[in-house]
């Protein structure tokens, strides 16, 4: 009987986690500043997930050519910092690692030609102590915003 009860509790816990997370990317705390988001709209590739701390989650996304993107990562307070690495899918070439920028939580990207990238995200939760598995999971929100590159966009004269 006991394993059954544990299963039910775990099940309820997991479902609660999922339902809390499904629009996490849309929270005000996940939104960029108005300056960062100027003229941008939320992409349908925006994502929320329910993750275990210190394990890496990977997703593949399409960044269209002639577009500026702002990719933002947010989570619950004690799960920071968030480590993310952006890699080109075709070649596996790393394009950006936020470790070099002290785990900054947002990056602007201007795209010349449509590119598929793999994003690897880990909630490092450096200062957190977890007593058991129910505490080491949190929502990750990845709001992605985009706009057509204006003449004075991120890319400037490079494109």
């Amino acid at each position: 009987m006991k394993p059954f009860i544990i299963t039910i509790i775990a099940l309820m816990y997991s479902l609660t986690g999922y339902s809390q997370c499904d629009e996490y990317y849309n929270r005000i705390s996940c939104r960029p500043s108005s300056q960062e988001a100027k003229d941008m709209i939320l992409s349908s590739q925006s994502k929320s997930s329910y993750l275990e701390a210190r394990k890496t989650y990977k997703f593949q996304m399409t960044l269209f050519g002639n577009m500026d993107y702002r990719i933002i990562f947010c989570t619950e307070r004690k799960f920071y910092p968030i480590h993310f690495v952006i890699t080109e899918k075709d070649t596996g070439i790393p394009l950006y690692d936020n470790e070099m920028d002290d785990y900054v939580e947002s990056i602007g990207v201007s795209i010349e030609s449509t590119t598929i990238v793999i994003v690897e995200v880990t909630l490092l939760a450096k200062d957190a102590k977890f007593r058991d598995f129910r505490q080491n999971r949190a929502c990750l929100g990845v709001p992605i915003l985009y706009r057509r590159i204006p003449k004075s966009g991120f890319a400037g004269e490079l494109l």
Partner: protein, 290 residues
Amino acid sequence: MNRSLLIIIAFQVLLGGCRSPRGEAEKSEQSEADSTQYVQELEYLLPSPAEFFSVIDEIGLEYNSQLIRPIESITSFLLYRNQALNFGVYLTDFSYLLLFDKQSEAIIYLYQIQEMAQLLDIESYFDDEFFNKLLASLNEPDTIRSISIEQSAAFFNRMDAIGNKDLVILISSGSILETMYIALNAVDERRITDNTITTIIDLAYIFDSFYLNYITTQPKGDEITPLSEDLLELRKIFNSMAISQVSKAIRKDGNLVLTSEVTHEVNEYNVRKMKVMVNTIREKIVNQAY
């Protein structure tokens, strides 16, 4: 939700707990780095039709009412898979109508989507708040398009959370095939321009992400096999285009600028083949031949 799926989720949660022993956070940073591991398979994020249409306007997409699927009584969709596939088609047509500011027609398609959502038992993903927001923004095309794109993200995130992956992949199949069908209509294979090539490459990348997601999901049932076979054929055509790129990231004012060298073998022959295959699959979806 499927009972076995619930049990699997519960089991995964329990297993996850086993992999995360008590006091792990107290380990050194080195062991923390060593213990980092992949938690799950790669997830594929797909842009919505509205988002795709908003970025490909340079190919000269023009409004053509003949392109979209006419409204049909929902009672004519008998099989669950055909309901799901055509639901995806209508989602794309709705976005197409919004792109050309055809609000009154779009509302008719929106009601069709609402009715079909009830048929598929997913009406809660298109709540009244969404419909009210759209109706209130009818005279603001930019706002209504932005709401539509945001709703698409909300819809697929909610569906993912529930875990009905078979349904999601069927809806996505209908939606992406209709998107390709509409986009390719603006492409003249006898006149391959730079813009044509850009659009074909964009479609190839979107289809690739969709297809990898499709085969990862592996929709169940023999009845799906003909659709899977047709999608594989389309993948082979895209592969024959040998599209590849090498990108370089440059830092500029704290942002990244990605520049790419793209190589391809997009030509009149494989573009024509692709159009024929897309038209064939789309026709089968619309005629409920799958």
